[in-house]
């Protein structure tokens, strides 16, 4: 510390003055004014960014990858996924969900469902603008809203989606009755 009393006070003033002036003249916005003016300008989200899960389908919505194996349902830490498998008239399971609900008021966006899914069927979205008016019913996302195309997946996370496509190509959709592979 200096012997000169008051030097610390002046030093502080110099720093704040530098920041004040710098905020007007710094070319690189990230150096000083790091805030994004949200509705007008948007941050480019990194590819890994995750919010709520969605279900991927190939081509048309009825070709969804999910086989209703319920692995994500059991692994989900806050237990916010609810799945009912579709059955035909004879009660035979159809390897696809009839009900797939995610309570996004409970979901904590951890991404474990996407990690454990052996079929690459459930993935994490980047869409964060999900506010709704209702606290309960509106925040329960049902199957139709959860379905997103593979193209959308490519759009938000191209590298990851390409990687997934490469691993999926040979097998396509596993035949009924095959056990999910270990991960």
């Amino acid at each position: 510390m200096s012997n000169l009393l008051g030097k610390g006070l002046i030093d502080g003033l110099v720093v704040t003055a530098k920041n004040f002036v710098g905020s007007y003249f710094d070319g690189n916005r990230k150096d000083r004014l790091f805030t994004y003016q949200y509705p007008e300008e948007r941050m480019k989200l990194p590819e890994n960014s995750r919010t709520f899960p969605f279900l991927v389908y190939d081509g048309t919505p009825d070709q969804l990858r999910c086989t209703a194996c319920k692995i994500c349902e059991t692994e989900c830490p806050p237990q916010c996924i609810y799945i009912v498998m579709e059955r035909d008239a004879n009660g035979k399971p159809l390897q696809r969900p009839r009900v797939f609900d995610i309570d996004i008021s409970v979901c904590m966006q951890c991404g474990i469902c996407a990690e454990v899914c052996p079929f690459n069927a459930i993935k994490m979205d980047c869409d964060f603008e999900r506010s709704k008016h209702g606290r309960f019913e509106d925040l329960l996302v049902h199957l139709p809203e959860l379905l997103k195309s593979n193209e959308y997946y490519h759009q938000i996370k191209s590298a990851e989606a390409t990687r997934v496509d490469a691993t999926r190509k040979p097998t396509k959709k596993p035949a009924a009755g095959t056990k999910p592979e270990k991960i």
Binding site: Y82, D101, D103, S105, V106, F136, L139, L140
Partner: protein, 175 residues
């Protein structure tokens, strides 16, 4: 019961994974010994907690001790008490290590272990009027919570089936 020399040897040699299960009556003496013994000098009580072994019908209080002076440890000092609330007493180690104060209060709060000789044994995390001890394995949540009705009627019913108790008001709120 090992002798003092055995304890000393055991702990100061490779004190990587040693634990001591002592009787309740001996706890305070053992603690003081561990703290003051020049070869051990466990002057730092890192972690205090309780475990509810419902099958063995006992609650085990675990103290993890380290030595700041000699930089060794940990030793887990364990003591067991019966589960029954009125018998669930353990001597407090707060007079030996001040750092136990809040953690013993927490163990009392969540497990119902009474620490004899604790200077200020009150609930710490739960509110004062709360009656039960929520970390016990046989704890049943009371019905008087302000229930957030989960929107999914079926999930709700399933939760009910799995043993969770759901107040009727929540089901009504659903309708």
């Amino acid at each position: 019961m090992p002798t003092v020399e055995q304890i000393r040897e055991m702990l100061s040699a490779g004190a990587a994974k040693s634990s001591l299960l002592v009787e309740r009556e001996d706890l305070l003496a053992v603690a003081k010994f561990l703290k003051t013994d020049p070869q051990l000098q466990f002057d730092f009580c890192s972690c205090v907690t309780a475990v509810d072994y419902i099958k063995q019908d006992c609650i085990e209080v675990v103290y993890h001790l380290y030595s700041v002076a000699l930089k060794h440890g940990p030793v887990a000092l364990k003591v067991r008490a019966p589960r029954a609330l009125e018998q669930c007493h353990v001597p407090s180690l707060t007079p030996v290590w001040r750092g136990c104060e809040f953690q013993e209060r927490e163990a009392f709060d969540l497990f119902g272990v009474k620490f004899d000789g604790h200077p200020d044994l009150r609930r710490i995390l739960m509110w004062d009027e709360f009656v039960d001890h929520p970390m016990r394995k046989d704890y049943i949540p009371p019905m008087d919570y302000e229930w957030e009705p989960t929107p999914h009627g079926e999930t709700l019913a399933r939760a009910k089936m799995q043993g969770g108790t759901v107040p009727a008001s929540a089901l009504e709120a659903k309708k």
